[in-house]
């Protein structure tokens, strides 16, 4: 068994190396400074505290949406809606941050809670439609992204827009609501602790609570769960709702920690990233932060490469896509793995 774990590590490394090689070849073809470009990609995130901070900052929202998506996946429910939940959570937190007068310690908690409730609402709709009537949650959660994007834009535009600003942004959030950035020059903020709490919470919820148990069994085999006396209708609903809570809190954290005023004009894309993170982590909450860091590392490195060399940002998207494909290729080097297994089995017989 041990050798198999070693194999997994080696396989991932080889896949990453291969993807890098491919990336390097392409870089070599398109860049006049391929060596420098690639080096800045690989080591860029570690060359200054701020850049390292960027990596961590980027991993925080990814952790939330990754957790959210994996929660739904564990219940064998699709959730393409983390995007809308994240967005709407951020919108709701913005409103609380602008309007509610509250002391410094309470304000963020309040904003996060409201963000979570907003996300929960967006998650509840596909959940209940699926649980009650079997309506495809893939369709509804996808469509709700577009709906709640517009609802959020309307709220900001018509009710909380900063009319003195030269762009479509909300009024600034009251400073009491901010999640303080405590490690200058980075922008790492208290939201990181909320993220860690979220990881611990989802882990405990999924693996240590009766509700999480019911959720996982429903995901593994729905008729079995039904037969065992689990109320699968409510499980399906609450899996989406909790997924929405986590994504919504994620949006709120991002808003309170990084932005301090609402300024998105399009869906920010963390929902889809969350799917990537969840699959990379195989839906294991404890693996989610690592997968989020990995993706954040790719992104930050790529940004730095695009910024400091002549390789374009688009090329980097392509290289990222190739890496994601190769790293998650289960059958990549499977023949080799099988030989190891056979050898071990023969020895142990």
């Amino acid at each position: 068994m041990k050798k198999e774990h070693v194999f997994e590590v080696v396989r991932s490394l080889v896949a990453i190396l291969l993807a890098m090689l491919l990336g390097f070849i392409v870089t070599y073809l398109v860049s006049k400074q391929p060596g420098e470009a690639f080096q800045s990609f690989l080591t860029g995130p570690f060359t200054s505290p701020r850049r390292f901070g960027n990596l961590i900052e980027a991993a925080i929202p990814l952790t939330f949406t990754g957790l959210a998506v994996s929660m739904a996946f564990q219940a064998a429910q699709f959730n393409i809606g983390a995007e809308g939940q994240f967005f709407f959570g951020a919108t709701a937190a913005t409103i609380v941050g602008i309007t509610v007068p509250a002391p410094g310690w309470l304000h963020p908690i309040l904003a996060l809670a409201v963000g979570g409730v907003a996300g929960a609402f967006v998650g509840w709709i596909p959940g209940v439609l699926k649980a009650r009537w079997g309506a495809s949650e893939l369709v509804s959660s996808l469509m709700l992204n577009y709906v709640f994007f517009r609802v959020g834009m309307y709220l900001i535009n018509y009710h909380y827009r900063d009319t003195t600003a030269g762009a479509m942004v909300s009024l600034p959030l009251k400073e009491t609501s901010w999640l303080t950035q405590f490690l200058p020059p980075t922008r790492i903020h208290y939201g990181i602790f909320v993220a860690i709490l979220a990881v611990i919470f989802t882990y405990l919820f999924l693996y240590r609570s009766r509700w999480g148990y019911a959720l996982r069994m429903t995901g593994l085999n729905l008729p079995f769960a039904n037969y065992s006396g689990i109320n699968t209708t409510s499980v399906i609903t609450y899996s989406q709702v909790i997924s929405g809570v986590v994504a919504g809190i994620g949006g709120a954290v991002e808003m309170l920690g990084i932005y301090h005023r609402f300024q998105w004009l399009a869906l920010p894309g963390y929902g889809f990233d969350g799917i990537i993170v969840a699959i990379l982590a195989r839906n294991n909450p404890l693996g989610i932060p690592l997968a989020a860091l990995f993706l954040a590392y790719l992104r930050t490195g790529a940004d730095i490469m695009a910024r400091t060399t002549d390789v374009s940002a688009e090329m980097i998207t392509v290289i990222q896509a190739v890496m994601i494909l190769l790293v998650t290729a289960q059958a990549f080097l499977a023949g080799w793995k099988h030989r190891i297994v056979v050898k071990e089995a023969k020895q142990s017989v």
């Binding site: 200054s48 701020r50 850049r51 901070g53 960027n54 900052e57 980027a58 517009r150 834009m153 535009n157 018509y158 827009r161 009319t163 003195t164 600003a165 030269g166 762009a167 479509m168 942004v169 020059p185 922008r187 991002e254 990084i258 932005y259 300024q263 998105w264 004009l265 399009a266 920010p268 894309g269 940004d303 730095i304 695009a306 910024r307 374009s312 940002a313």
Partner: protein, 353 residues
Amino acid sequence: SKTADKPAAPGGDQNAKAPLKVALLINGTLGDKSFFDSANAGIERAKKELGVDAKVIEMGNDPSKWEPTLADVSEEKYDLIILGTWQMTEALQKIAPQHPDKKYVIFDTAVDYTKANLSNVYSIEYSQNEGSYLAGALAAMVTNSKLPNANDKHTIGFLGGMDIPVINDFLVGYIAGAKAVDPQIKVAVSYVGDFANPAKGKEMALAQYQQGADIGFNVAGETGLGQLDAAKELKKYAIGVDSDQAMLFKDSDPEKANLIVTSMLKRVDNSLVRAIKLYQEGKLTLGKAETLGLKDDAVGLTNNEFYQKLTDDAMRSKLDDLKAKIISGEIKVDSAMGMDNAKLNEIRNSVKP
């Protein structure tokens, strides 16, 4: 050894052989056929004409990356850092004071000089509402004209990317200009909700044309290009924005180009070349904001072969007249910047078809 060849102090130091190092930060991506492309064009010209050494950095559409990029770039060996849009002002107000040795130019907005020591920042604003005023006036004249594709309705169109202040600034000027020519004018206003969905843009423009508009103004990035296709399909007129859209299609699609009466431009390119030049000469008024408008030729309608073909002398002289009045201050054009929704709605409803 690296510190030894640190670039010489900026500002017309003649003995410095090292070219001026300039960075242009794009908080979005190139290819918008709008002011980022225009800024990029300005930098290209500055490279050629002024001999600067420049790098253009696309920061993408994720706002959370913009501030750290600015901070990063400020630590690198650039002399002059150029950036644009209101969204960058808060970041710049924070970072510029930390790098007093660096100089910054921000275009299409102004920093708040009362907020910090921003003596190293030069701001350029454009009165796009003034240019749009002229576009509105022209549109009103076209819809009332005898041009082959004009109808007898007093309706013109406006296709916005999103219902947001920058876009509405164009709209407010456009409506005002149109009303100045024809108080009866109706303006069909649609927002696509997306800057990168040309097919949807075309669809909405078609809807406007079918509901009676015979000319429309698109202010919607790539989405807006869909309006031009709609114009071609229904044989209606269009007014472009931010780049000379008739010239874009002059060779690839002359039929379409023939329907684009003019385009309303913000000449970011000119203003940046000017700023870099002033800087090299040591004359840039750092620590101040300047508003460039019709009088500086920083905004205005394009004058090309199609414009000449589609407009007559009367139209052109009317436009010249209005332009002169705006420059002289006789006409004051409202701005949507800082306008609340109630006022905005009042304006939109006053011309609702």
